[in-house]
């Protein structure tokens, strides 16, 4: 049954400064595009009753390059990412991932910060952030700190973000080499991934990240290291299938995910040879 609306309390803020001041004093869940949060509300599985509406914080919509670092504000929507010339030039696989999130209605509201905060192992943008060794920028009333995206999640839907911290941006160092992204779902639009993968390959290194194959998004470190040491594609595929820990759920099976993940890695390594 849907959560009773009358039991919910929301405050709206227009600046990061106001947001972190509220979060210092009160336990409130930030609400951006609401594309995940309101699904929980409609299902009656919403755990919180107190919210902080941050949708109007314009300063968090910015996408910019500072030196070598690409900075994406937490409230950049998937539509913003699809349309951004900066993303197209520096991180085209993030635009590709964004085009495969939901449909246009969801892309107009869903944000990259929300995808990070929601912490689903199936989040479509997350393997991209893992593959490029992104950094999450967190702000609280006490100040700002940075957390490596690989290491941000500590378990299923758990992260190092403290309750008084707001995700304000994600930073991405310069990416050299080929970028490669694939999502496997029941259909192209409006599907949650069965397996989602992002890869980066340059002359020296291969980076591979996968979603929906473990409790959190993961980097395939053993496979990467083996490839760095000269493993063949066949060896890498086998290693990858052993390395991931997918489960059976309503969207797919562990066996299918293992098979497809290996196939995707084979295609990535072949396409980028």
């Amino acid at each position: 049954m849907r959560t009773a609306i009358s039991t919910l309390d929301v405050r709206s803020v227009a600046t990061v400064q106001d947001a972190v001041a509220v979060m210092r004093d009160e336990a409130r869940v930030p609400i951006a595009g609401a594309t995940d949060l309101f699904v929980a509300l409609n299902f009656g599985t919403l755990a919180s009753r107190r919210f902080l509406d941050i949708w109007r914080i314009e300063e968090l919509r910015r996408i910019a390059v500072n030196g070598d670092v690409l900075m994406i504000g937490a409230l950049a929507t998937y539509t913003d990412l699809i349309r951004s010339p900066v993303i197209a030039a520096r991180l085209p696989m993030l635009a590709e991932a964004s085009r495969l999130v939901g449909g246009p209605q969801i892309q107009n509201r869903g944000t990259i910060g929300g995808n990070i905060a929601n912490a689903s192992p199936a989040g479509d943008s997350l393997p991209v952030l893992a593959a490029v060794d992104a950094t999450v920028v967190l702000r609280s009333a006490a100040g700002e700190r940075r957390a490596a995206f690989n290491g941000f999640y500590t378990g299923y839907r758990e992260s190092v973000r403290r309750a008084d911290e707001l995700i304000v941006a994600v930073e991405i160092p310069a990416v050299s080499g080929r970028q490669w992204f694939r999502k496997v779902g029941t259909r192209a639009a409006q599907a949650i991934s069965k397996v989602v993968i992002a890869g980066v390959r340059d002359d020296r290194t291969v980076r591979i990240a996968l979603g929906s194959v473990a409790p959190t998004v993961v980097r395939a470190r053993r496979t990467e290291e083996a490839l760095g040491a000269g493993a063949s594609i066949d060896e890498a595929v086998q290693l990858l299938r052993d390395e991931i820990v997918p489960i059976d759920d309503i969207r797919s099976t562990a066996g299918y995910r293992r098979l497809v993940s290996g196939n995707l890695v084979r295609r990535f390594l072949t396409d980028t040879q």
């Binding site: 609401a34 509300l41 299902f43 939901g102 246009p104 409006q190």
Partner: protein, 143 residues
């Protein structure tokens, strides 16, 4: 809460975490916007906020304070999309139709079939099939 609804300034008194969908239907009596899945998968509740299509079942009222909201009622009775959906029989049960038309409004001039498919990727129809819907949108844009 004050918003511009189909071109008119309106005050909303529903609770701030109310779904925009419910505010439209229950407070303003605009029942053209339909509820399908209630989870952002079907697009039946699509409206435009500041010109962009969104699922009104996933928007809290608090977030449209000051915004410009357009619903199917805002089109009046004589819009080319409405005529062509009838002419091409782009509707059977009709539940998905308002959402389809609102999503189609975001298309630029002379869209290709591919453009239309992308624009409508977030809208499900379970009875007409999509061919008649795509045809209706093509013809409406050619008018």
């Amino acid at each position: 809460m004050r918003l511009t609804l189909n071109g008119e300034a309106r005050d909303a008194v529903s609770a701030p975490m109310s779904r925009l969908l419910d505010v439209l239907r229950e407070e303003f009596g605009l029942t053209g916007t339909k509820e399908g899945c209630g989870e952002g998968e079907c697009g039946a509740c699509t409206v435009l906020i500041d010109g962009a299509p969104v699922c009104s079942c996933l928007v809290p009222l608090a977030q449209v304070d000051g915004a410009n909201v357009q619903t199917i009622e805002g089109l009046g009775d004589d819009h080319p999309l409405q005529h062509e959906f009838m002419n091409e029989v782009g509707a059977q049960c009709g539940i998905c139709t308002p959402g389809m038309i609102m999503a189609a409004l975001s298309l630029g001039e002379n869209p290709t079939l591919d453009d239309i498919k992308v624009a409508l990727a977030g809208n499900l129809c379970r009875c007409t099939g999509y061919a008649a819907i795509y045809r209706a949108i093509m013809k409406a844009n050619a008018r």
